[in-house]
């Protein structure tokens, strides 16, 4: 009797489930990329007649925390936007679907350049599609520089030149002369725009002495002259010479507050990337000032090295954002269709030129609109100097610990103390065998 009831219930449930309309494909994305994602969604909806469940989340560090929590809880959307550095980590955790097979019938997959695809690959498989890449530089406020009697264009050759400019800016009332991202509120921004850009110029590049990871041995560098030099630079900026206050790194809405403060002249020099040319006036905002007007307000210089013997003259490191499919979406044909709609040459090409983003697609790079853009030509020249992050599983933890190191310096702790804390935490995390100290 009971068995028959159960069977009937099971049959009814099956009928009910099969009768329900297929669930709408869902996407979670960073609002900073709305100008790329929203038209992609619209194109998908127009082509298929199906609605997309779109979850637009504010950019900033909390975006990554939210996605990470969703993934580990198993509640993530079908399609998710990810910073490229985290892709290998999530692929290694089986959160993402490998895309090679899913995209093999898409005639535009071949247009993606190999280098940028390597960044989002894990064990030889591609796990996300990059929408572009970036370079980093020191933006400066021209009105502040004029007031301080500093030369425009500005081209610092060493860290000392940056500190000197900062002191000159302090004298004319720019209290936050140099925004060097520090602490935990910037998240990955501290590691990339601040720490790694400094680190790369802190020692000779030989044997990866200027990196977080020794790539030949596969060990994390727990202590090195480059790490100590970098922390010394942070200490000069925030503690010794105090050319900037510390609070700006902890503003309530740190990305937007900083952009506004920089445009208002409250920050003189801003360590950021080429996206600033767009995002200072609202990422993807259609009503931006013209490039000529922007160039009157702000300029940029490549990041100088430390000036120590053997160190690089200028440094750069590239990242970028991607869109991936979560593992559960691997069998959902709608998810891959949505991905293709977003990355369609027309949609991605328009966004790339509008926002002046470095492209990762050969066909877009070859297009006239891209080639004829002077700003893009300028930043493309900086790509020669660039490198990538240590995008292996574990990097996200190391990055968080790097942010803690800079927070320690802001707190007035000694370099010895923060390096010891960092080293010990790396050993806790990866074991003593996987951590190396360079002399």
């Amino acid at each position: 009797m009971l068995k028959r009831h159960l069977l009937a219930a099971a049959a009814a449930t099956t009928l009910l489930v099969s009768a329900l309309p297929a669930q709408a494909v869902s996407i979670a994305y960073n609002a900073n990329f709305e100008a790329l994602i929203a038209p992609g969604i619209a194109a998908y909806e127009a082509a298929t007649g199906q609605k997309v469940d779109a979850i637009k989340l504010p950019g900033g560090d909390d975006y990554s925390t939210r996605i990470q929590t969703d993934l580990s809880a198993g509640t993530a959307a079908d399609v998710i936007m990810l910073d490229s550095y985290i892709v290998a980590e999530y692929a290694g955790s089986n959160y993402l679907a490998p895309l090679d097979d899913l995209l093999k019938d898409w005639d535009q997959f071949k247009d993606f350049m190999k280098g940028p695809l390597d960044v989002v690959s894990y064990n030889g498989k591609v796990y996300a599609l990059p929408n572009g890449t970036d370079v980093r530089m020191l933006y400066y406020n021209k009105a502040d520089f004029t007031k301080a009697g500093l030369p425009i264009p500005w081209a610092p050759k060493t860290w000392a030149d940056v500190i000197d400019a900062g002191k000159a800016l302090n004298k004319v009332g720019v209290a936050n002369a140099f925004l060097l991202e520090a602490g935990t509120k910037w998240g990955e921004g501290t590691t990339m725009q601040g720490f790694y850009m400094t680190l790369l110029g802190a020692d000779t590049p030989d044997g990866d002495r200027n990196r977080l990871r020794d790539r030949a041995s596969g060990k994390w560098i727990g202590d090195s002259p480059a790490i100590r030099n970098t922390l010394k630079f942070y200490q000069d900026v925030y503690v010794n010479d105090k050319i900037s206050g510390t609070a700006i790194n902890y503003a309530a809405d740190v990305f937007n507050d900083t952009n506004n403060a920089f445009l208002a002249g409250d920050i003189g020099i801003y360590a950021t990337g080429n996206w600033a040319n767009d995002c200072l006036w609202g990422c993807g905002n259609a009503n931006q000032p013209s490039q000529e007007e922007k160039d009157k307000l702000v300029g940029f210089s490549p990041w100088p090295g430390s000036g120590l013997p053997g160190a690089k003259a200028t440094t750069n490191i590239s990242g970028g954002w991607t869109v991936a499919l979560t593992a559960k979406a691997a069998t959902n044909p709608d998810a891959i269709k949505l991905l293709e709609a977003i990355y369609d040459a027309k949609n991605l090409g328009k966004w790339t030129v509008d926002t002046k983003t470095l492209t990762v697609r050969q066909d877009i790079a070859d297009s006239d609109a891209y080639k004829s853009n002077p700003f893009l030509a300028q930043i493309t020249a900086m790509v020669a100097d660039t490198t990538g992050r240590d995008t292996v599983p574990g990097y996200a933890k190391v990055s968080a610990l790097v942010q803690d190191m800079t927070a320690g310096i802001l707190d007035g702790k000694s370099i010895d103390d923060v390096v010891k804390t960092y080293h010990d935490a790396l050993v806790d995390e990866f074991g003593a065998d996987a951590v190396v100290t360079l002399q």
Binding site: L71, S93, G183, G245, A247, D253, L401, D411, G412, D424
Partner: protein
């Protein structure tokens, strides 16, 4: 044991009425047990150790004391709780309740609205407001410090913990004020009249009559606001994110940062358990104060 017939007849409905409580208790016990279990492992939010984690005994608890972070946060939490809740909210709330009692003036209305506003505003809104108020071009610099010829002072850079403490006093005083106002109403006028006739000064009336009679209210208030403040998160997180450096990194922010930014769920759980024990000790202390002296 003889059961009352009413209870026996109502057993069914009473069992149903108990269900929500049972679910709440079960959920609390299960989640605490889960956190205790995790605190003995090296499980992480993502990566290899989210799948292949292992037991590491008391390592996480040892690291509370041997690694940077916990002891600093314990101190910050202690300072924050002591000055913003125990000293700030409680004393300010009590003082307001005593001074405004019985008055029916415009002043009282204004003060009550101001106090309640802090309590009613969402934490995030309050955080943005205080961020703006204490910024270099904010209210405090523009209207108080600059006219006095001081500043502008970068308040959050230089006095982050003080700003957070003041913000929380402003935010939470309403609760203590309401509780003490209601408690004061329960003291009969005759007793206060009698004290006055006997020649007690206003200060003596507070110290010798009102305070002893409010003993249990004070303990209840302290118990509640200590528990709330000890684990308070949103206002500080939005206002300073725990910074600059680690100046305002209270235990709840350290726990969040460790668990969800760094991704060490095991270590984060150990911090959570330590917090639970600390609040537990404080709660026992206050509950003992609630007992009438013999």
């Amino acid at each position: 044991m003889r059961q009352s017939p009413w209870l026996a007849a109502a057993r069914g409905p009473m069992l149903i009425a108990m269900l929500p409580a049972a679910v709440c208790i079960l959920a609390t016990v299960a989640l605490s047990a889960w956190a205790i279990f995790y605190s003995f492992t090296n499980v992480e939010l993502t990566g290899a150790r989210s799948i292949n984690w292992s037991f590491i005994g008391f390592d996480n608890y040892v690291r509370l004391f041997t690694r940077e972070g916990f002891l600093n946060s314990l101190w910050v939490t202690f300072v924050f709780t002591f000055f913003s809740a125990i000293v700030g909210q409680s004393v300010v709330g009590f003082t307001l309740a005593v001074t405004l009692r019985g008055t029916r003036s415009l002043l009282r209305n204004i003060v009550e609205v101001a106090v309640m506003l802090g309590w009613l505003l969402p934490d995030i809104v309050a955080a943005f407001m205080w961020n703006a108020t204490t910024s270099k071009t904010g209210l405090i610099n523009s209207f108080i410090l600059n006219p006095l010829g001081v500043g502008p002072v970068d308040l959050i850079s230089n006095y982050a913990l003080t700003v957070v403490v003041v913000a929380n006093i402003w935010k939470g005083t309403a609760w203590s004020y309401l509780l003490f106002s209601a408690a004061l109403d329960s003291i009969s006028r005759e007793i206060l009249e009698a004290a006055r006739v006997d020649g007690a000064t206003p200060f003596q009336r507070i110290r010798l009559v009102i305070l002893p009679m409010l003993r249990s209210h004070i303990a209840t208030n302290l118990l509640l606001i200590t528990i709330w403040t000890f684990g308070y998160f949103a206002l500080i997180f939005a206002l300073t994110g725990g910074g600059p450096g680690r100046q305002t990194e209270v235990l709840s922010i350290l726990m969040f940062h460790t668990s969800f930014n760094v991704g060490k769920l095991g270590f984060g759980s150990a911090i959570a358990i330590a917090m639970m024990l600390l609040v537990g000790v404080l709660a026992v202390f206050y509950l003992r104060q609630l007992k009438e002296p013999k």
